[in-house]
């Protein structure tokens, strides 16, 4: 029979951290043994899924974290964070403002793309050949998410997003060394090829599509493609918030004050 205290403690149960006065342990290892002994990417891995990656796995994981840090002030997450830091907010609030924006259209793209890759992988497991698995996977994915396939295409980087080929080369190298299987690299590139074929012109694999390949190769569940991207992009959000703080400004709007939004009278009847 559970006491009130047990019920409360159970309500907040966790397998991540164990604490007593003077003691902090993460997934069984005291913090003082982790500090100075594991890299930051290894610590991220330990925290979000448990276990410690090999050095080779950690290097590939790290490459994905490095790749996604920033895409400049044209990205709404970065612009919003820069504006926030001129409104008298602390850096914590500015970062939160930016990360909050990494919704289904951006951070969620990595998650949705990972779902597509895993679905295609299951079809391969069932014996479907790659090209068919890709087409069936795309059909299935689009019935849920619509025509635009997350992880592919870039309104700016045409025909190539410079991050994707570099990341894919690292995956291929890791596969040749046996660190990962290379299966999701095959899948990602097959999806890219199929999308290009269907529209008659090549399409870029973007940062979400490329990092999802890596996170799938390393076995992260799809929602973590979104979550890990948020950690990565937080770096750029912080850097830009801080740069803006040093540039100064108060209540920075999206354009210099002399430009006024166009007023479109529209239809004021209900």
């Amino acid at each position: 029979m559970s006491t009130d205290a047990d019920a409360i403690r159970h309500w907040w149960r966790t397998s991540i951290i164990e604490m007593e006065p003077g003691k902090i342990a993460f997934r069984g290892t005291p913090i003082e043994e982790l500090i100075g002994n594991v890299s930051f990417p290894q610590m991220i891995w330990l925290m979000v899924r448990g276990g410690t990656p090999s050095e080779a796995e950690a290097r590939l994981f790290e490459a994905a974290l490095v790749a996604g840090v920033d895409h400049g002030p044209q990205a709404p997450s970065i612009a919003a964070a820069r504006m926030a830091s001129t409104c008298g907010l602390g850096l914590n609030n500015a970062i939160a403002t930016g990360v909050n924006m990494l919704g289904d259209v951006h951070g969620g793209a990595g998650e949705q793309c990972a779902e597509l890759y895993y679905d295609i992988s299951r079809r391969l497991d069932e014996g479907t050949v790659l090209i068919n698995a890709v087409q069936e996977g795309l059909d299935n994915w689009r019935s849920e998410y619509g025509k635009i396939v997350s992880g592919f295409g870039h309104r700016f980087h045409k025909p190539t997003d410079p991050r994707a080929p570099r990341l894919m080369a690292l995956v291929r190298a890791a596969a040749s060394e046996g660190t990962v299987s290379g299966r999701y690299a095959d899948i990602g590139e097959a999806v890219q090829a199929e999308l290009g074929r269907a529209r008659g012109t090549p399409i870029a694999m973007n940062i979400d599509g490329a990092t999802a390949v890596i996170f799938c190769e390393l076995g992260f569940p799809s929602p973590l493609s979104r979550g890990l991207f948020c950690l990565s992009r937080s770096v750029g959000i912080l850097a830009h918030s801080w740069e803006q703080m040093n540039q100064g400004g108060r209540n920075k709007g999206p354009m210099p004050p002399r430009f006024l939004p166009e007023y479109d009278p529209g239809d004021h009847s209900e």
Copy 2:
């Protein structure tokens, strides 16, 4: 003479990132040269302040990032993020909820503590001896922020927060190798000693106080003690949000549903 387009582009000027179709460079280095070649901590350093740390500097920096990742569901940032992930939000929104909470009392503590250390350091530069510099620095700091000195004391980890001595040992080792000066380790420990002396019982250096030592040793401006802590704590926030998502629950409140908040009729007159 500036055109409209130039004015707009200038409004969003940045020294962090340069973009053209097919090109992304951070502080002058193409992204494809960074991916796979710099560690995630080095990338963080490059983004927020420019330049690349030596390997020894990066290791010390990494230790601070590893140390601050989590303090469990009793921390409001972690609890809020866990609750958020039961409200139908994406991991990006859950992380934002948690990071937003790292305000003056927590994330800001690192910033305020760094201000104290830098102020004491300036007094040393002016020839004041350490014990006097500490006392004057504390007086000055308290006149702005009040009696409770950020970075010291822990309501839970008494008498010692296990993270602090481990971090300080790494700083001392780095100082003995010439990576850092060790000045801020001296200052931090002198502040800790003075606070303990004044109240007649030892006081713990907490995670904010210890990481601020490292960020000061490495030359980061004080607001970045807050910003970098946010990056670090984001890891725990993500891990707990994800664990909660897997535990399930809908609209998780702060206690099991059978406990109701106490109603205190108070005084309803104005």
Copy 3:
């Protein structure tokens, strides 16, 4: 041919507000004619959809806004905001923290419920009788959102949420006066009856289900059931943040500090 300035201005075009130095007009009416002449609910209506409601419509609208302001510290939105205000954040950040939580499980419930009502309404328009329209609507809705029907059932208020019958009585009164049609009251109660019948025990219509009836009666598109609820709940979030600020506390966690989360060693292998 669009100039750069025109392109920028067009990028931020709006039909809501027109500004010139010394002039602010909302949907065509100068602000100084609105201040003191329209009620706050009328202003909300004007802003989010244009037009001005009749007094009778405004009263019904206002009842929905009043009804949803708060559900106490057991609600994650309220608890999170209270915790936020002990972390050194301003009231703006505390409100944001709370409102951010009103995701698909809570604020989104009103939106999803309105979708259900509108779908059933369309079936009635096509000649389906109410009971069939309800069953078909529920089937259709569940194929998208799952078994638990948003707007109905309450883990705490059993068998009746006291807000719902009062709101429904106001809708009925408004219908008898010709202010609204009463169609969505019929639909909402038919859904409630059908859910109760199917599970063999009555089920409460909750605040999301009842306010969605009103917002549908008044013709608000379904996503605004979520948006308007956020405005309403912001009131309680502010009240609780402010009460907590006056109670004091620093870094308030979800339970008193002497209770520690239960550590569940779980399985640390990957």
Copy 4:
């Protein structure tokens, strides 16, 4: 002796709401007696401070809420919320994004301005004449907050913000009817006159300065000038988020995609 259950319940104690299954009461009044009987502004008043305003007080309060709803997409809070709603976020997340931005520079301006008014009022109580109380109050305020006085001056509305004279006229009318004293209207206008005199050219009272007059006349503590402004501005944030959702767009940045932020190579050395 407190039991565990009592301790938990006490941790979340509140004077705002009392709940039992089937019962919700706010500051002692059952919700079903409030719905349909109090206006939304009266409910806001009841929630945040207790008590019910007279109709005349409620009208003045309502005018302040109406006045602050929006200042268009040039405001960072509005722009950020519009961008958020193109990132795949719900309206709750978009509102949170906007409200989070109402920090010390904006929402906080009302709070700081109310502090100034109350400080001047205390000086009047001590017998200082108005002009001296204003000068001393300004000196005292600036020693804490710096040269730019919150609540006065507008980079856009020169020489007059159309909201302020209208609000002040309503305060004057309410004072002549005995609803309020008019003391804070005197103070606000004396501050405005003094600021104009000192710089040799008239300065506008802005929305923060004018609503702070009303909130002080009605006896709200200064932090609530920030909090109530957030409720008001939430309306515009919702309206713009919703308008943007209907305009469409994905990952809307601060300027049309063909404009790129200027890259300023700066100094990449540390």
